[in-house]
């Protein structure tokens, strides 16, 4: 019995030993397998993938930071800056580098004196971004606040103070439409310019059109960073190349004078050097402040601008389309003279209206101009004369002459967004309305109305060609050498040009002229020009009988457009000007005085104007 019990104990002991040994082997084997997997993975990472991970580790240790090249300045023809860079102090944060975001934000609130609302806005902005992405949390900080944050930096892991640049604009309202503005980079910008390192890109105007030139080349800085992403030291830096300055033909002071003179009106003033095509002044009103855009405009202001009745964002000088009105009469006259259809001495009797078909067309002078010749009709802006003349020569010749003067097509100005306008004709009408041309439309085109549309810049270029005795000069906004000026001789008879020249002189400088009250008051300097008043509503027969309602009594949108085109000095012309005032009233009363004041400033202050005027022979040689 005892022997049996002993045997049973030994057997049980052997079973347990066997069981323990088996379990130990299994557990140990599993552990070794796990260890083997780890070692295998280690071998793969450390040896096989050594190179790849070394590179990644290096990239993790070394942060490549772009050195944004200073953006080029935009300056006027005399070197006065219109757009340049100013220092800006900001703060950004990378969420994944912040151990305790609420505590960090509370600390920033304490240092910067943020309100609870501001704190909530910042927190939401950070949480909306992916953890690894940098979020701008404060911009345009004062030096004092920036210094305070820098002092607290050891307790603000993940917060990075940034020293940057922002765009600032001089004479902002005066140059906004030309210079444009910069704004945050958009998908459209990336598609057009590639993936830029800069955060801001030119959005409109020169800032947009010359983005590549202004931006320059970014440099690269290699920074060693710690595990929190904070910079430990700078390893190397390769400076970029600063953007190039862009010099414009604009005279900033003249621009400011024209802007001030326009005041609250809606319209434009364009002044061009008739010899070089330099745009000395190109103002569109009302305007806006591009500085608002550079530092981020709020939605409310943006909506107000978009929906404003007078369209402040539109560059009316190149994008505004207006019927040229009586400023087009020179083209009609030249078409007739060149075709030999009229003798300039031939007179037409103006009784205040003109009948064609079943329609009666009125002259602006109710009692009529009486018997009047071409020069007189131009100087006094007789509508009846030009109704008659238009019918005599027909729409084809008017269309052809308008096109020769650059109407109905872009002038070639080195600024994007220019509109072409409309020079109507038979083909145009067939294509547009699928109907034939009607005689009444020729009549109305004779006084620059109907379908005819032109930009203020086109009118200036047209006037410059008249001042140049029939040589069309391509306008330019970027200053360049005289050799680069593009001129096209229109092949017009000098005698005919002289007739127009004389008529335009009379329009401003003789009592019968519509712009006599705006003649220049500078000794030995005279301006020639032509007024224009464009109706934007139909005046009924009943209204004519009871008396046409005065512009001042009408709603703004129903008032006439006021225009004036001209050039000065009359002898040896140097500058052409166009003034268009939307719903401004009469051209003689509103547009011409503005043109006179701008021209007076120009002739009195422009160094080129102060120099001895070249002789006719000189001009001929230049042209």
């Amino acid at each position: 019995m005892t022997a049996n019990m002993e045997a049973h104990k030994v057997a049980r002991f052997d079973d347990e030993e066997t069981s323990f040994a088996r379990r130990s082997l299994l557990l140990g084997g599993f552990q070794l397998l796990l260890g083997g997997v780890i070692l295998g993975r280690l071998q793969y990472l450390q040896l096989s993938q050594s190179e790849a991970y070394t590179t990644l580790a290096e990239a993790n240790r070394v942060k490549i930071s772009p050195i944004i090249a200073p953006r080029g300045r935009i300056i006027d023809r005399y070197g006065q800056w219109l757009a340049e860079n100013d220092r800006t102090l900001s703060l950004s944060i990378v969420r994944e580098q912040v151990p305790d975001l609420p505590a960090t934000l509370r600390e920033l609130q304490r240092v910067l004196g943020w309100s609870d609302e501001k704190l909530a806005r910042v927190r939401n902005a950070i949480l909306r971004q992916p953890r690894f992405r940098e979020t701008l949390i404060a911009k345009d900080l004062s030096w004092e606040d920036f210094a305070k944050v820098n002092l607290e930096l050891p307790f603000l892991a993940g917060v990075e103070p940034k020293l940057g640049e922002k765009r600032v604009y001089n004479h902002p309202q005066a140059v906004a439409h030309i210079v444009g503005y910069v704004g945050p980079k958009t998908r459209r910008d990336i598609e057009e310019f590639g993936n830029l390192v800069t955060n801001t890109v030119g959005q409109t105007g020169i800032e947009r059109d010359y983005e590549n030139q202004l931006r320059g080349e970014a440099g690269v800085r290699h920074l060693e960073v710690n595990a929190n992403g904070r910079t430990v030291r700078e390893l190397s830096a390769e400076g970029g190349e600063a953007g190039e300055d862009v010099r414009l033909t604009i005279d900033a002071d003249l621009q400011a004078v024209a802007t001030k003179r326009l005041g609250q009106r809606s319209g434009s003033v364009v002044v061009m050097d008739v010899r070089t095509g330099d745009i000395m002044c190109m103002v569109s009103a009302p305007s806006f402040d591009p500085n608002q855009f550079a530092s981020g405009i709020d939605m409310k202001s943006w909506r107000q601008m978009l929906t404003h009745e007078r369209k402040p964002l539109l560059n009316k000088a190149v994008q505004g389309l207006y019927a040229p009105g009586s400023t087009f009469k020179m083209i009609v006259a030249l078409a007739a003279l060149e075709a030999g259809i009229i003798d300039p001495k031939t007179k037409v009797s103006c009784k205040g209206d003109y009948e064609y078909g079943n329609e009666k067309y009125h002259c602006w002078l109710e009692e009529g101009h009486g018997d009047i010749d071409l020069e007189g009709a131009l100087a006094g802006s007789c509508d009846v004369y030009f109704y008659d003349l238009a019918l005599k020569i027909g729409i084809d010749k008017i269309e052809e002459m308008a096109a020769r003067f650059g109407l109905g097509m872009q002038t070639g100005l080195d600024l994007s967004g220019e509109k072409t306008g409309t020079v109507p004709g038979r083909d145009w009408k067939r294509a547009r309305y699928n109907t034939g041309w009607r005689g009444g439309e020729t009549v109305i085109t004779g006084i620059g109305q109907g379908f005819l549309l032109a930009t203020p810049l086109q009118l200036t270029v047209m006037t410059a060609a008249l001042a140049n005795k029939g040589v069309l000069v391509r306008p330019r906004l970027l200053a360049g050498p005289d050799e680069a000026v593009e001129r096209t001789a229109l092949g017009l008879d000098a005698k005919n040009m002289a007739i127009i020249e004389s008529a335009l002189y009379r329009a401003v400088n003789q009592p019968e002229g519509t712009a006599y009250s705006s003649s220049l008051l500078i000794k030995n300097q005279r301006m020639s020009g032509k007024t224009g008043t464009v109706q934007v509503r139909r005046i009924s027969t009943e209204e004519r009988e009871t008396g046409v309602i005065a512009n001042k009594d009408l709603d703004w949108r129903l008032r006439d457009h006021a225009l004036f085109v001209g050039y000065a000095p009359h002898k040896n012309p140097r500058y052409a000007i166009s003034v268009v005032i939307e719903h401004g009233g009469g051209g003689a009363q509103v547009a011409a005085p503005i043109a006179r004041d701008v021209m007076v400033h120009l002739l009195e202050n422009e160094p080129a104007a102060a120099s001895a005027p070249p002789s006719n022979a000189d001009i001929g040689e230049i042209l």
Binding site: R12, F13, E16, S19, F20, A21, R23, S24, L27, G28, Q31, L32, L34, G35, I38
Partner: protein
């Protein structure tokens, strides 16, 4: 006869299995799991095999292995040399002193004892962290780490329970 019945072959097997388990757990602790809280916490799962080792193996070679593993842990955790050595040894000593108490104890008692010892060890962890400038003392993180360690005991103890082949002793509920 249970695992607590000593013989040289069993002792060596048990020691090696526990050492290997602690080593693997130290290595696994540094696996990049991409979770911030898991990174900053110090969950001491390796205390489970140390606890098991203390109950079955009180000879001095165990301490030598624990000193070596503690040093490894100090190196991988970038803590001051000796920090984890101290904690491993303290925990092992405390656990060894409970061998008599835990003999034939129910699982609930074993777990509670493990919890108490872990709590005491983490108190030491926090106190040393307070005293040493290179260590960041966080009462919250230390507490959460201790609780996580205690909660994870039943899962990580399973292989050792299986190895001990003494279901009656561990399985009493």
């Amino acid at each position: 006869m249970s695992i607590f019945t000593q013989n040289p072959a069993r002792n060596i097997s048990t020691l090696l299995i526990c050492v290997l388990a602690i080593l693997l757990l130290i290595v696994f602790e540094h696996a990049p799991l991409g979770n911030y809280w898991l990174t900053v916490m110090d969950i001491g799962i390796f205390f489970v095999p140390i606890f098991f080792l203390a109950r079955v193996f009180d000879a001095y070679p165990a301490l030598i292995w624990l000193v070596a593993l503690g040093l490894l842990k100090d190196l991988t955790s970038e803590t001051p040399i000796g920090f984890w050595v101290l904690l491993f040894c303290v925990f092992y000593m405390l656990a060894t002193s409970q061998r008599q108490f835990l003999f034939n104890a129910r699982f609930r008692t074993v777990w509670t004892t493990f919890g108490l010892l872990t709590f005491l060890t983490y108190v030491a962890y926090y106190l040393v962290s307070l005293l040493h400038p290179a260590l960041e003392a966080s009462l919250l993180l230390t507490s959460v780490s201790a609780v996580a360690t205690i909660i994870s005991f039943p899962v990580f103890n399973l292989p050792f329970r299986w190895l001990s082949a003494d279901d009656g002793q561990y399985g009493g509920a």
